[in-house]
């Protein structure tokens, strides 16, 4: 592993994901600006209700902001620490954060990080450890289903042991490309549900989703999992 790593030119990047309350968007944006995170994107997501009753009454789910940031792995800890201080990830329900390791990046982007790496690493000692796990103990399950099935899907996932999930509305690009309707191109509506879970619960949850919402069902869902590390704000 170590000699392979040395073959990589430039810093190693990670994709850091924050899922927080929508009202806290500004707080996190400020943190990112202060630490000078160059690439971050925000999507609006929807939290999922903790019970069916609350969901039907309309007071179960709240709006979430999903941040995707690109940062060097050595900076990730600092970033998570600052964000944790600002948002209080140690409190329950304050939000979650995790990092997805990357397996490739277009080189020109790396140059930007190369330039700044020396400057920023100085004020950060890598001995500092946070209350987060660095090994790959957690996984992120992502299920993409047709519009309207996220509620049912979450109910099934919860039964199989999922703690919670976040839904993002996405558009599906079909193999044949979009349908044209005069001046506009029409795409499929899909919902992407992200569920952070421990390794042990991954398979039961994925099975539950696959069984009822798989490719052959009306939901026409696909489900996959990616490894994540540096997890904050979860008790699983």
């Amino acid at each position: 592993m170590s000699e392979k790593k040395s073959a990589v030119h430039g810093p190693v990047l990670k994709c850091l994901v924050f899922i927080i309350d929508w009202e806290k968007t500004k707080t996190l944006s400020d943190v990112l600006a202060r630490i000078n995170v160059r690439f971050h994107y925000i999507a609006k997501g929807k939290g999922t209700a903790s019970s069916e009753m609350l969901n039907v009454l309309g007071i179960g789910s709240s709006e979430k902001a999903v941040f995707f940031c690109l940062e060097q792995d050595i900076m990730a800890t600092l970033l998570l620490k600052e964000a944790s201080a600002a948002l209080g990830f140690y409190r329950p329900r304050a939000g979650i954060a995790f990092a997805i390791p990357l397996t490739g990046i277009n080189t020109p982007v790396l140059q930007i990080f190369k330039k700044s790496v020396m400057r920023e690493v100085k004020h950060f000692s890598d001995k500092e450890q946070l209350f987060m796990t660095s090994e790959l103990k957690y996984e992120l399950i992502i299920a993409v289903v047709n519009q309207g099935y996220s509620d049912e899907l979450m109910a099934a996932a919860r039964e199989a042991g999922a703690g919670g999930g976040t839904v993002i509305n996405v558009r599906g690009l079909m193999h044949e490309g979009p349908v044209k309707f005069f001046g506009i191109s029409v795409q499929e509506e899909r919902e992407a549900i992200m569920i952070l879970t421990s390794k042990e619960k991954k398979i039961p949850i994925m099975r539950a989703i696959g069984r009822d919402f798989g490719v052959n069902s009306k939901a026409a869902g696909i489900v996959y999992a990616v490894p994540v590390d540096s997890v904050l704000g979860v008790k699983l």
Binding site: I42, G58, G104, Q147, I184, V186
Partner: protein, 515 residues
């Protein structure tokens, strides 16, 4: 406490509280009022808070998903005739159902109510269909607005003077708490499944175009019917001496609004059921949510309308008439500005719009900015109206330059802001305007001895016009901000092969299959 519930309560509370405090303070300092009236007002304010909370929750759960669903399914069907026909039908149904329009019909003299309502409904239906056609054929919104407002002003030449303020009022009034969430989310639906560049800015502009329909409809009707005389529209104000009177006043009016809102929602529910039977868009959970959402909307609107109609009309009217008749009448202008600034938050549809704007812009245009813009717009509108009432200036002196300026702005402002601005014109002028501001203006007009038809009416028109300018100006600022941002991003220019890829190693343990 439940987080969502808490948010809704706080939102409703902070929306209604400022205007309540202002009126209370003014009633102590400027216009002493009988305690019965004030008690009614306070009860009304309380009902407003409850109603607003339920309504916004209900709109989120029922009206928005349905509107969006219809937009999406119509786009998916890719059938032009169907899209036009359904849009027309929706426009007609929801307009006829809109409680605000009933209020307007009561106030417009000499035209039979039914003729007015159907004509306005057809007007809105046609323009809703036109909005869809506009998106499909990619006709720029500014061009459409320019053409139709030129037509509006041309027709207004042939309409009796008395009718003009009312015609412009009807444009703002018809887009009320039922129509707005529906149309806004329909626009969102049309944009939701599109991949082209203009999809975001096309989410807005439905309300904008649909506000033109009623103006044209009433102007045209006005050319045929001759208004006999003003119809004040304010029924005898119920007096209240004891706390029991207060409750009775509200209780007697409650069934009236219950019936109105039930009728309005029933029309939408029937339409929705047919839609669901054909497209089967919603799953079990969602249907339950929508049903509960409809219930919330019903409760919210009934409570809101009762509160505002019984509690606010007498106070507004008394305020206007007493101040205008006193030696302090010029204080109406700053007071109007103050009231305008804070009352906009109490319009239920405003929250729906602001949220939509924040969603579509993914937070780039925050609700705060929209609130500020709309508050400034509303303040300006009330300031202008009070000046008009006190001086008797013709409404065209404001309408023509106002619309001319906002139409010119459309060519310089980012498209999405044009849509939002012209939408917000219709959104701002909801039930708060017609039940508090209109009586205020009427009272002021009576007190100052002006012409009710030409001076007091027209307040809604002003409320619907000023946001066009203010929001677009914000858009202009926003554009400069974007430019400044682009300039300080020199890092974007990469050196070397742009296609180069760096790979990181990643080790798999090997795949297992779980049967």
């Amino acid at each position: 406490m439940n987080k969502v519930l808490k948010e809704k309560i706080i939102e409703a509370f902070t929306s209604v509280l400022p205007i309540t405090l202002i009126v209370l303070a003014a009633s102590v300092i400027l216009v002493p009022m009988p305690s019965g009236t004030i008690l009614m007002f306070l009860t009304g304010a309380l009902l407003l808070i409850v109603g607003m909370g339920f309504f916004t929750l209900g709109a989120d759960m029922a009206m928005m998903p349905i509107g969006e669903g219809i937009g999406v399914q119509l786009t998916k069907k890719t059938n032009l005739v169907l899209a036009i026909f359904i849009s027309f039908l929706i426009g007609l149904i929801i307009t006829i159902a809109e409680p605000d329009l009933q209020v307007l019909a009561d106030q417009v003299p000499s035209i039979p109510d039914l003729i007015l309502i159907v004509t306005v409904g057809i007007g809105v239906g046609l323009f809703l269909a036109l909005s869809v056609v506009r998106i499909l054929f990619r006709i720029p919104l500014p061009l459409m607005l320019l053409v139709f407002y030129v037509i509006v002003f041309t027709v207004s030449v042939f309409t009796p003077d008395n009718f003009i303020p009312m015609a412009f009022d009807s444009g703002g009034v018809t887009t009320g708490p039922i129509t707005v969430p529906f149309m806004l989310s329909m626009g969102l639906g049309f944009a939701a499944i599109r991949g082209d560049k203009s999809s975001r800015e096309d989410s807005f502009g439905f309300v904008a175009l649909c506000s033109v329909g009623p103006i044209l409809a009433v102007l045209v009707l006005g050319a045929f019917y001759n208004p006999a005389g003003p119809d004040t529209g304010i029924s005898a104000l119920p007096g209240a001496d004891t706390s029991r009177d207060v409750v009775l006043n509200f209780m007697t009016r409650l069934p009236v609004y219950l019936k109105e809102v039930c009728f309005a929602l029933a029309a939408i529910i029937v339409f929705f059921l047919i839609f669901q039977l054909i497209f089967r868009r919603y799953q079990k959970h969602q249907l339950a949510r929508i049903a509960v959402g409809f219930f919330y909307t019903l409760v919210g609107l009934v409570v809101f309308l009762t509160g505002v109609n019984v509690g606010f009309i007498p106070v507004g009217h008394a305020f206007g008439s007493q101040l205008a008749a006193s030696s302090l009448k010029w204080i109406l202008v700053p007071l109007g500005i103050l009231i305008g600034y804070f009352i906009v938050a109490a319009e239920p549809a405003v929250h729906v719009l602001n949220k939509q704007v924040e969603d579509v812009s993914q937070g780039a245009i925050p609700q705060k900015v929209m609130n500020l813009g709309l508050s400034i717009g509303m303040a300006a509108a009330l300031g202008i109206t009070m000046v008009r009432i006190l001086t008797g200036l013709h409404i065209m002196w404001f309408l023509i330059p106002g619309y001319a300026f906002s139409l010119i702005l459309t060519f310089f402002v980012p498209r999405i802001f044009t849509g939002i601005a012209f939408d917000s014109g219709g959104v701002c002028s909801g039930p708060m305007t017609s039940t508090f501001l209109l009586p205020l203006a009427m009272g002021a007009c009576e007190g100052a001895g002006g012409n009710l038809m030409t001076d007091a009416f027209g307040i809604v028109a002003m409320v619907a016009m000023t946001p066009l300018i203010v929001i677009q100006l914000i858009g202009l600022l926003y554009r400069h901000k974007l430019r400044a941002f682009e300039l300080i991003e020199p890092e974007k220019k990469f050196a070397g092969d742009p296609g180069a890829i760096t790979e990181y190693p990643f080790e798999y343990e090997g795949a297992r299959i779980y049967e």
